[in-house]
Symmetry: none
Subunit: 194 residues, 4 copies
DNA sequence: CATGAATGAGTTTTCATTCAT
DNA sequence: TATGAATGAAAACTCATTCAT
């Protein structure tokens, strides 16, 4: 039974994702999340200690899943060039598929106090580090330039992709995000390949 | 006396910038802005029609000033390569100097509802377009590759710089933002120069 | 226990009636109603969606009860003449007994915006229609003149009684309202009986 | 020059009448009245000591004018029957012509606290007394019944007319108010003539 | 007399959180 | 564990009134 029956806290997180995506964190009443999850308002507080706690847990969990995917795919790429392309593809594809998550990570994740911002920053770090590892491996394999400032460039890569996602998200007219993969990666490679 | 006496709406905007930077837009009560500006709560509403109006006016004004600086400097650069470097330098230097503004543009600008997000997006557009113009000029002058997807790359450049600023902003330990200019620009140039 | 325990929304309405009667709708803060009802401010909004909603519900409920009494009594009157007298007696007696209700219906009911005024007008309509029915029945039974303009006269009767109540309500010196029944009805009958 | 130049307080009252009629007393900001009158907000307080004072003065003045018209016309009527008809005609015609005034007297006049209500009640009293005088004259001339309870009946007449005006005022569909004169007066006469 | 910028008390409403059941 | 009614602090905004010019 444990297999099919979702954990109730999972249920609440799922509901919160939808509600945050629709209304934004600050405009999303806890009662609405409760209703969406099919539980009583008070029940939420048996699983989370505050509304903020929901958001943090949510982001951590979802980004954790994403990072796992990144890691897995990267480990299967022989060539760093392919690893970069794969990461970008997953980055764009997953967020395109899960618009609610994109909404929350791109818009809400930037939110509120420094405290929260930092807490969430930690969730992104593994991804940033993964990018770094790929860069290092590429340098080691002599396919990337040997003078790369990896500490800086990992942020340049992440920031560039991040902005592309945000731009897509708030665009008035819909277009394909995943179609931007090659343009993005080609740009990167020009800058980092020997 | 008119020289010393700042316009009261300017006074309020200045106060709002500080308060927003400290607390974040949603957690900043109008009463706190009023107190910081040394005026009564109601006075705020003689100059702005709502709290949101303060934020929008603030962003528009400050970003407008920034964009003006960009434009002026760019127009003085003969070579597109220098223009790119100048833009990045101003971007990093100005936000390093005005941390409160950085706070609001990097953190608050991303938040709130889609509505506001879009409204503010317009304030950034001129900058994005300026980047585009530099790219085009560089292509025309045959110093940049002739196959650049400018619509995409302008976002890649902006996003990369933006992320570097945000990372600096939320960093636990202080370091120089302006010191990142050359690393950033060199990366860009490798990707776009012939 | 359910017997003694009044519905909480009933409790709030009761409190609102008192407060509205004392201060008038516009001068009555919701917080005061809450205090009078012995609940927290926020509790009010679990039962009513706005302050205006309280007033409308209140009027509708109380006037509804009154109209029910009118209807019942009228149905027990064989002769239209008695029906008229009974209506007037109930009208005067009930409002004399429930001064707070009179206050709200006579003073507050008239106030506020046209919107509200109309909404409340609907609550009075059934009473006006009941008067009309009695008139028609009297004409049919040949005890009232056959040339009565019922659409107009129903308002003349209602308005006349209404003014008597208002005059009584704002009088400096107290006197019996119910003692005016016969004078009022005799006047009416002279005008409408054959 | 005094002839053409309206007194400034008159100007303000005129403006207040329009604004009250449009928005209702409580929703009408003093600043709006000032703007409509073409004076500064503060100027209002040189002529009136409060917003409420404006309303009271306004009603008193306008109703005073009306009562003067009633008195003049009545004094020209030889027969009490005609006097009654004339009063009703003026009552309906004047308010039909001056909808703003009707709005204020019928809706706003009923408003707010008992204090105001009473103050305004005084303005109506002369009219009520005039009705009484006509009734007495008619009894004296033996054209009206000699057993009329004039203290009551004057209110029945006023209330009946008043309600007809209010009904007309809040009606969804427009119709002629003055067309109701004969129906109303015929009803009265049946009740009071010998 | 006239102005109109400034005031700040007062109001409605929302919503995260608690706790008796 | 689960509920959901109740709480009450907080917050945005309005506007009658004042007063320095």
């Amino acid at each position: 039974m444990t297999g099919k029956m979702k954990d109730k806290s999972e249920l609440i997180l799922e509901a919160a994702l939808q509600v945050f995506a629709e209304l934004g964190y600050h405009r999303a009443p806890v009662s609405r999340i409760a209703k969406a999850a099919g539980v009583a308002d008070g029940t939420i507080y048996l699983y989370f200690k505050s509304k903020e706690d929901i958001l943090i847990t949510l982001i951590r969990g979802k980004l954790g899943e994403l990072v796992d995917k990144f890691r897995e795919s990267v480990s299967q790429s022989d060539h760093p060039r392919d690893a970069i392309r794969t990461m970008c593809r997953i980055h764009y594809t997953e967020l395109e598929r899960n618009r609610a998550l994109a909404m929350v990570t791109q818009i809400e994740l930037r939110q509120s106090d420094l405290e929260l911002r930092r807490a969430i920053g930690h969730a992104v770090k593994p991804y940033i580090r993964l990018i770094e590892q790929v860069l290092l491996k590429g340098m080691e394999m002599k396919v990337f330039r040997d003078d790369l400032d990896v500490k800086l460039i990992r942020h340049l890569l992440f920031g560039a992709m991040d902005e592309v996602v945000t731009t897509w998200l708030i665009a008035e007219r819909p277009y394909s995000l995943s179609a931007q993969v090659d343009g993005t990666v080609d740009f990167f490679l020009l800058a980092i390949e020997r």
